[in-house]
């Protein structure tokens, strides 16, 4: 018997050596080249460290003096979230059916999917700016923005759920001679309802978070209050607002998680 081997190398993740080296060298080149040519003003950065100290000093302790404004802003965000979730979820149902491969004819399927892709690709802030320009400042733009945001998520998830349903139940209904809407009610809705409810609650939570942000560009809610505070260098008020936003998000996430666990 030959002498036992005394060398060993772990098989590399990318087996093809050409590909492997291309990836490694490519990554190094990318980070090296882009890293050095990034448009960074290092003086300004150094200045910034000093500024940071002053800003944090100005931010502590957080000021709740204008809590009236705070509460108004928060309530407006809440209203935006509620209406956007209601509208968005309602619209998502037909769009989801349009985007499900197993219930929609080909052209409608493509249309449905296109709607979802467009709704998802734009950051809500961009959508918010456009709606603000179209319908003016204020919470209405916010509601419209978050309806689009909701559709992008809820319709997509719902469409996936519809594609996963047990089609046997639909066949059974059809075989029994049930008309279209009865089939819908008895065979399809019961299968998607639990997911639908879960998605609605999740989206309400999501919209509450997002409504804090769209306000920054003028679409109403506590984001507007925050942007104002930053603009006026009221850092202590800004900190107070941020703390409230974080608190609300945490509570909302906890409640939302709890409810979703209860219904499962």
């Amino acid at each position: 018997m030959s002498a036992p081997r005394d060398t060993w190398k772990k098989p590399p993740f990318i087996a093809n050596p050409v590909l492997r080296w291309a990836v490694i060298l490519g990554a190094l080149a990318y980070f090296g080249w882009v890293g050095t040519t990034m448009p960074i003003d290092w003086n300004r950065v150094a200045e910034g460290i000093g500024r940071a100290g002053r800003i944090f000093g100005g931010a502590f302790p957080p000021s709740f003096e204008r809590s009236g404004l705070l509460i108004d802003g928060f309530l407006e965000s809440l209203k935006i979230a509620i209406l956007a979730t209601a509208g968005g979820v309602l619209l998502s149902i037909p769009i989801a059916f349009m985007s499900a491969r197993n219930v929609a004819p080909k052209p409608i399927f493509y249309l449905g999917r296109a709607i979802i892709i467009v709704a998802r690709s734009f950051h809500p802030v961009i959508v918010a700016i456009l709606f603000v320009k179209a319908v003016g400042f204020g919470p209405f733009a916010g509601v419209l923005t978050l309806i689009v945001y909701s559709i992008g998520f809820v319709a997509k998830m719902l469409a996936e759920r519809i594609e996963e349903i047990d089609f046997g139940q639909v066949e059974a209904m059809r075989a029994a001679g049930a008309p279209y809407f009865s089939t819908l009610t008895y065979a399809i809705f019961p299968q998607i309802m639990p997911r639908q409810i879960g998605l609605t609650i999740y989206q309400l939570d999501s919209n509450l978070r997002a409504s804090a942000v769209v306000g920054i560009v003028g679409a109403g809610g506590i984001g507007a209050t925050l942007a104002n505070a930053f603009g006026r260098y009221d850092y202590d008020f800004a900190l107070a607002i941020t703390m409230v936003i974080v608190g609300v998000i945490l509570v909302s996430e906890a409640v939302s998680g709890l409810i979703r666990k209860r219904i499962q």
């Binding site: 890293g35 209405f140 942000v213 920054i216």
Partner: protein, 269 residues
């Protein structure tokens, strides 16, 4: 011959018991109440609401046809945007490793570090990227530094939380076995823990890069670098056809990002 009522206790059938029905009505009523409250108390000029479809249509009309004259600048700045997202995600992912380590119950050295780790993650996750951007623009001025920092600070929480959960869910048996061989803590982590969380690590990192690509398109709207600055400029000058071009470029970028992200995640797993 017993009647149905005698045999089963009742002779009708309803889908839900009385109690269930009352709960369902209560919930539906509650939701309706919330919606009604929101509708009636929201500060909206209803005249504008009814004019909305027309206004929206008008806006889209002005965007058509999209104007490609500045396409070169747009693409160059779009490339900057991609770099902001990539660099920031890379740094954030690296920084999230130690945070995830101390935020996981089975690897954290003591209760204080567990609490600290969780605090860092919660703060990071709950403050939106744009808000971080506002802060960093105030500190470091407008530019890519603010943008990169904003994305980093938000991403650490996202990646760290999922990574921490992955660490908590590992199979502990190899950990026990390697401790029994007399390996040091570091080597036990390297051999028993790291290989188990690797798939999640890569999947979450790639996912966050994809999300960050989208986020970095809007950083410029608050001054933190990237294509948002050009977009804001076009909007402010009412150059709607150029706005349309920029939006199309953003959609294409986001779709490419999603394709790459889905491809990589499939290859890794």
């Amino acid at each position: 011959m017993t009647t149905l009522a005698e045999k089963f206790g009742r002779d009708d059938w309803t889908r839900f018991t009385l109690r269930q029905r009352m709960t369902r009505y209560a919930v539906i009523f509650g939701c309706a109440l919330a919606i009604a409250w929101a509708l009636t108390s929201i500060e909206v000029i209803w005249a504008w609401v009814w004019g909305a479809p027309e206004q929206i249509g008008d806006l889209f009309g002005r965007m058509y046809p999209p104007d490609p004259t500045n396409l070169e600048t747009i693409l160059k700045v779009l490339w900057d945007t991609v770099n902001i997202a990539t660099f920031a995600t890379t740094f954030a992912v690296l920084l999230s490793l130690p945070v995830a380590y101390i935020a996981a119950q089975n690897t954290t050295p003591n209760r204080a570090t567990l609490w600290l780790g969780r605090l860092i993650l919660v703060t990071s996750r709950s403050v939106n990227t744009i808000i971080w951007a506002l802060l960093f623009v105030a500190i470091f001025g407008p530019g890519v530094v603010a943008g990169i920092l904003a994305i980093m600070f938000r991403s650490i929480g996202f990646v760290g939380k999922l990574l921490g959960e992955a660490i908590e869910e590992i199979d502990k048996r190899p950990v026990e076995a390697l401790e029994a061989t007399g390996a040091s803590r570091f080597k036990v982590i390297a051999y028993a823990i790291v290989p188990q969380v690797m798939p999640t690590f890569w999947a979450v990192s790639i996912l966050r890069w994809d999300i960050n690509l989208r986020e970095s398109t809007v950083l410029g709207l608050v001054g933190a670098g990237g294509i948002g600055i050009i977009l804001q400029g076009a909007i402010d000058t009412f150059n709607w056809p150029e706005v349309a071009t920029i939006l199309i470029a953003i959609i294409v970028l986001v779709i490419i990002g999603e394709v790459i992200s889905a491809f990589l995640r499939r290859r890794i797993l």
